[in-house]
Symmetry: D2
Subunit: 488 residues, 4 copies
Amino acid sequence: MKLQNGAEYIDSLRRLKPVIYYKGKRIADVTRHSATEPHVRAAAMTYALAAKPEYRDLATATSHLTGRTISRFTHVHQNIEDLIKKIKLLRILGQKTGTCFQRCVGFDGINAVYSVAYEIDEKYGTDYLARLKNWLTYIQDENLMVVGAMTDPKGDRSKAPADQSDPDQYVHVVERRADGVVIRGAKLHMTGAVNSHEILVMPTTALDERSRDNAIVCAIPIDAPGVTMIFGRQAGDDRRDKLERIDVGKPKFGVVGGEAVLVFEDVFVGNDRIFMNGENDFAGLLVYRFAAHHRANYGACKTGLMDVLTGAVSYLAQIQGTAKGSHIRDKVTEMIHLSETLYSSSIACSAEGSPTPSGAYMVDTMLANVCKQNVTRFHFEVARLATDIAGGFIATMPSEYDLKSAEVGHLVRKYFTGVADIPVEDRIKIGRLIEAMTGGTAMVESMHGAGSPQAQRIMIFREGKLAEKIKLAKALAGIPQNVKPKGD
Amino acid sequence: MKLQNGAEYIDSLRRLKPVIYYKGKRIADVTRHSATEPHVRAAAMTYALAAKPEYRDLATATSHLTGRTISRFTHVHQNIEDLIKKIKLLRILGQKTGTCFQRCVGFDGINAVYSVAYEIDEKYGTDYLARLKNWLTYIQDENLMVVGAMTDPKGDRSKAPADQSDPDQYVHVVERRADGVVIRGAKLHMTGAVNSHEILVMPTTALDERSRDNAIVCAIPIDAPGVTMIFGRQAGDDRRDKLERIDVGKPKFGVVGGEAVLVFEDVFVGNDRIFMNGENDFAGLLVYRFAAHHRANYGACKTGLMDVLTGAVSYLAQIQGTAKGSHIRDKVTEMIHLSETLYSSSIACSAEGSPTPSGAYMVDTMLANVCKQNVTRFHFEVARLATDIAGGFIATMPSEYDLKSAEVGHLVRKYFTGVADIPVEDRIKIGRLIEAMTGGTAMVESMHGAGSPQAQRIMIFREGKLAEKIKLAKALAGIPQNVKPKGD
Amino acid sequence: MKLQNGAEYIDSLRRLKPVIYYKGKRIADVTRHSATEPHVRAAAMTYALAAKPEYRDLATATSHLTGRTISRFTHVHQNIEDLIKKIKLLRILGQKTGTCFQRCVGFDGINAVYSVAYEIDEKYGTDYLARLKNWLTYIQDENLMVVGAMTDPKGDRSKAPADQSDPDQYVHVVERRADGVVIRGAKLHMTGAVNSHEILVMPTTALDERSRDNAIVCAIPIDAPGVTMIFGRQAGDDRRDKLERIDVGKPKFGVVGGEAVLVFEDVFVGNDRIFMNGENDFAGLLVYRFAAHHRANYGACKTGLMDVLTGAVSYLAQIQGTAKGSHIRDKVTEMIHLSETLYSSSIACSAEGSPTPSGAYMVDTMLANVCKQNVTRFHFEVARLATDIAGGFIATMPSEYDLKSAEVGHLVRKYFTGVADIPVEDRIKIGRLIEAMTGGTAMVESMHGAGSPQAQRIMIFREGKLAEKIKLAKALAGIPQNVKPKGD
Amino acid sequence: MKLQNGAEYIDSLRRLKPVIYYKGKRIADVTRHSATEPHVRAAAMTYALAAKPEYRDLATATSHLTGRTISRFTHVHQNIEDLIKKIKLLRILGQKTGTCFQRCVGFDGINAVYSVAYEIDEKYGTDYLARLKNWLTYIQDENLMVVGAMTDPKGDRSKAPADQSDPDQYVHVVERRADGVVIRGAKLHMTGAVNSHEILVMPTTALDERSRDNAIVCAIPIDAPGVTMIFGRQAGDDRRDKLERIDVGKPKFGVVGGEAVLVFEDVFVGNDRIFMNGENDFAGLLVYRFAAHHRANYGACKTGLMDVLTGAVSYLAQIQGTAKGSHIRDKVTEMIHLSETLYSSSIACSAEGSPTPSGAYMVDTMLANVCKQNVTRFHFEVARLATDIAGGFIATMPSEYDLKSAEVGHLVRKYFTGVADIPVEDRIKIGRLIEAMTGGTAMVESMHGAGSPQAQRIMIFREGKLAEKIKLAKALAGIPQNVKPKGD
């Protein structure tokens, strides 16, 4: 793999010229702009770990295509061990960055497209898998970051893609040429897009025959003509943009994945970069597999974030002199309990993984959906408990400008002191870290990233094997198995 | 009452010269500074409602001291009807401002100090109540805003006030003179302080004999010499300070009560403004009564905020075309259910109110504590549900600068459209409103305002009448009442 | 009122000859049969309290029809004070019986029918209210117990009443005569039916034009020809039937209301006892009002039960030596907190009550539904906490036969001892009380009595005033009120 | 293994003569007594599965001692695969019996004692492991059922073992002889004891030097002289004892594990059956390991029970015509979600297992404790949801005697009919199954089996690695790692 560490990754980004807007202005260099630099740094950590001996086993893998050592984030899972190593890697990255490191979306997209391309080829005699392998070898060898692009704007959600008044609400092919296709539309919430090298476009939902033009999977360089990104606002973004060091809470890394709107205005894609083209019957399967992989991850990376939060409030309680209170201990216990419950489903859906026909391994989809559903509950509860333990000062503290002020700095120092011998700055920094990790954007991302809660519930019901469970109940109640209500 | 409406209140503030710092700089005029103006407007609403016929019955009262019409926020509750009217008033104010309107702290302080002054006088033959009545008549007639100042910094919380290495961690009398006292210390989280006329200082906890110097209750003008305020940071404060109209979410009013650190550097208080001075045995009772009144309020004002949130997500769901989904309806139902459950305890603790020896009415303290405890759960859950219904765009939306940009504005408009005929700005504004009301500071305030959750649990256990409940159980189980474990 | 106390009530039951079956056999005397006697005793408590000076103010009222003193359970609420007194009475009765005392169903039925009869008369010029007043005066003067009969079997619930293959699945008029009607059908879950004097039949749901024969409200003596009851099984009923004194847990009173199936096999009802007859457009309103009254009650009586449970586990913790553990205290605190939260909604919906056109007072329906919804959550959680504190022995204790056994009694005594000086029987009795109050039937009744949870959610959504809440949100977000999505 | 199937197991029990009392009388034959027969049948299923080809891989293992095929329930886990297979086996057994099949306690005891005996031998030069291997080879070859006996009565729980006024409250050695020891005391809640062949006695808690006589681990035949059992009462036990076929709910198997009090009145144990004797410093480790194994299991077997409940309510909803309601589907989804969340932790703690010094594999103790903690929440919530979906009839249904009655049987049939074509008996049977599985004893067992909730919380806090988590937070907040509060 060409990019060997974080610095090389950052250098590589400087050679690209993507079109990115933020607060109404073009961003010239994502690696040096205050809005995007923290996200670049978080993504760089995925490169950095691969270079450290103690993490290499988790952070790299051996390519099944080339036999070469590659970043795990470009790997196609070959067995259960791969799935579990990924989970462990993500928890560590969550612990080290306290935020989204963005590289999973492309990773999961690669794995989902790989297995589906195999099955399309089987059914239709296409050569998508061969094309994908070529592109993927390039990605692996160069060690590129890929943004998986799935979520369409959807317009009026009570209507199907084909019924939208504006067809661009779902990315679609607007022109077919001998050498490729032209696509139009947009993808929302694109994590890590602005600092990726490549885009992997995928459909956002199962598609019927009327929506064959939406059934497009393809790879596009991030700075291809016609690609525009608009970087979103986040909680606390102005503190970050003003380069505050304390009040921003987590000065080095961002609060989320640096999401952007990604617009395709008649972008051309050559045939060698197209991995699905009109096979609408496979769109649902692709979404299903991508979603399962992605949902599994959330129980790992978010557990890493919760680990940080648990550490932060534990330290703050020590500083404030409350750490030995039985109710504080009980709340910390609950934070750990919820974190580990969440982590369990990431491990479990990996341990129960199984191969697809292509040989690529899938997580257990039921448990992966269960995992993400719990993220949408537990992360909020952990944040609530952190807020409880931390105390009201995380909402009312004076700014770092006041802390450093000649007029009132001494008052801030005097009245925000905790136990003896701990600098008041430490207390304030920990308070700001908790503020940054429990408020707003960070939580919303846990709710909707990898699919909103209802999406998981639909899957959980569908995969619940109710007919089998009914058999169990009948057997125990002494009811013959052959009696059934009509229509059920 | 002299100040008849919001404009007169705002004018009155301009005549004061309090010392306020924010982001390291002095604020010259709270009514015109971007950081404080929204909070001034929210407080002004308490004046405005008194001027509107449809709210006058709730927003005003008849003074039991003078018989004159006064703002309810300066009234001493004379009966259950007063208590219930207050609750209804607060819910309406919460609905109209979507935030804290700040005037309850002084209101509750007045009521608590009133009843306790009576009892101190009874026991010690002091004349605190007479002094208080004089001052209160002034407050009522002028219609002044009073900040109730209770929460001390507390330093190392594992130690009692008398055991702190820095005695200033709890406000205390540092000098006693014939004509008054000099106090030193600070109060944190002072809601509405910067736009109040007067400060009502109260102790923060029960006090033993060693802490008689902390047993001080007194009134101080907000711009008295030696008083300094440092205005705190809030989530999204930079958007507010930059006068953004959409991205700030709630352009007119703030996200919380505009909390400040309030420092007393050797402030002199004359005898006529002192309402407790060394009677440490009454400190606990005062805190108990203040806390009960204040906790009761949270079930009213926060229900108002939840009403707004419920309306916001309902409208957003309509715009997005999801309003008819059964899971959306169910989540909205849950939001209403939690809001009304919370409101019930505010109403109930008022309906179960009773007179103190002074004649001033108290809420039922058990139910008032139960009320606040539920705020610390239900507001978070309502916010979580709002986040769920709203969708991920509240975390990833481009800024209003992008919306108005010549280069990308059309893309934002195109891809953030919902159902036909609703301007895209409306969707974005509602999204930003939800963002502002669910993230960070707003939630922390619900957790810790009026006392952290554990403070309520201690009260709930204490007032749980376990001995009586044990009798009930024994009677039903057929166990003689006279058999009891030793030491219980 | 004729029946002055529990003994007179019990005597009065002996003069009736209702047809009741239990475990396949006819019950000759409900006051002396092991299955029904505990329920008779619980109902008798409603009579007993009226005779005790300390409870008379709550347990009796002054009839608005006659001016005479009557049991509150036969009263039509005339003001908010009446509503609140009812709530306080029910909590005390719950505390004293630890179970359902059964008299609310008829009580609420009387109040709902009263106000609806007035409105039917207004619209159709009928004389239902006059008839009802006659019958009600009789009920009040005699002080009779009335079972409110609402819940029909419903057959296939995916079908409306008029679409059932068996029309008897909803009680209906099968014959109309000059002097009255003949009805057929059944009512399920009839609390207190077997020890009531009278039945008040009501429809179970809103009815369309096709179901006018189901729109029947009438009063029937419990031993009228054609009325048959089948008494249901309950958790632990065999221990009760075998007259065990310890293992039954609550030897004097039952675990629930003594529910029965109530069958009408062509029962004739005279015109003077008919209060609705074909006015299907009022069926929904009747159910709505009955349900609101009844749901309000659950927050009172069940709080009484939770008080008993809280006392029971507190005492058991003392006996076991665990009462001072911080986690035990915290769980007891939570039990109290949930109980009082629940109680708050009963008080609140009463304090917010208002008059119907007839003058009879209604509770606030939103808060009453909120109240019952919380019963279906909090009673379960309180029971779970009780189980947690109690310990595993409530599931594994030897029987009272073993306790008294010559061979092993000494071993039971030795190994179930707790702290010194408390008889081992006390620990076992408390354990059995907790077992009886947390398992099975008792909990199911809390879930479904007064309507299943979804019934409340439908009401909460309907009464949520979403249009008004949307206005609040628009105002704060700065959105014009006149822009609305089509069709919403 | 000698006992090849359920029938052979049952025969083997008939050859034993244990002393068992129930309801004051001696039980002559556990395989034919109504109280114990259902539990024997449930345990027999562990033998039966080993005989079925489709389950053999899960239900048997290869002994690491002899290389022979043995029941998995007598196996010492050799790797992660063993741990996971156990989990899958337990879920299936839970599904097939709907109750506790009792064999895990001895299984987990064997595994815990094995690894600890190795470490005692290492430290003290004893030969406990050799003795254990001899005994275990006998257990494996004969395929015997072993009851793990841990929970002591504990007397006054505020006191340590050595401080009890009655030393017998903790099993202890009362006499030491050359050939063995004599023990006295009792063990409570002994699952499966009455139908086991052998007892494996273990201490119940960590022990200090004063309690060396309590540090005893040994094996005792179930019918050894001095061993007495008293079989406990359970919810619904009388229906079972009267051999009711419908109302008992689950006619073939019991509701729990058939718990008994197990008393040792000066029982002699020979040296070859002693595996710890005075090494109090290892008591805590033994409990820790036993508890972790046992807690891991609960996420498997209880998930099996929840599967049955989910099937039962799904079928009942079909019969009642409510299965397609969105709120029913949502509640079923939640039941599945909670079940699978629970299952995840069983799988995860196994997948994260690791070897002890003895080579025997341990589950991850953090995740195992997390697993059990969730049982104490989710099983209750699943039961609550089942009760919600089922409807009130499970609390009010007439008995099967009424169903079969000549007088009222036709009424029960008529009014408990659901959708067409499903026999009314089926509805009633499913209702009774749900009643049996959600009420009382069954739930208490989930709460306290394998340790009460607080026991898990203590472990979760201890294993939470707070120091490491604090480091993570400091790193992200930019705080030097070397600054630490004193004493933390």
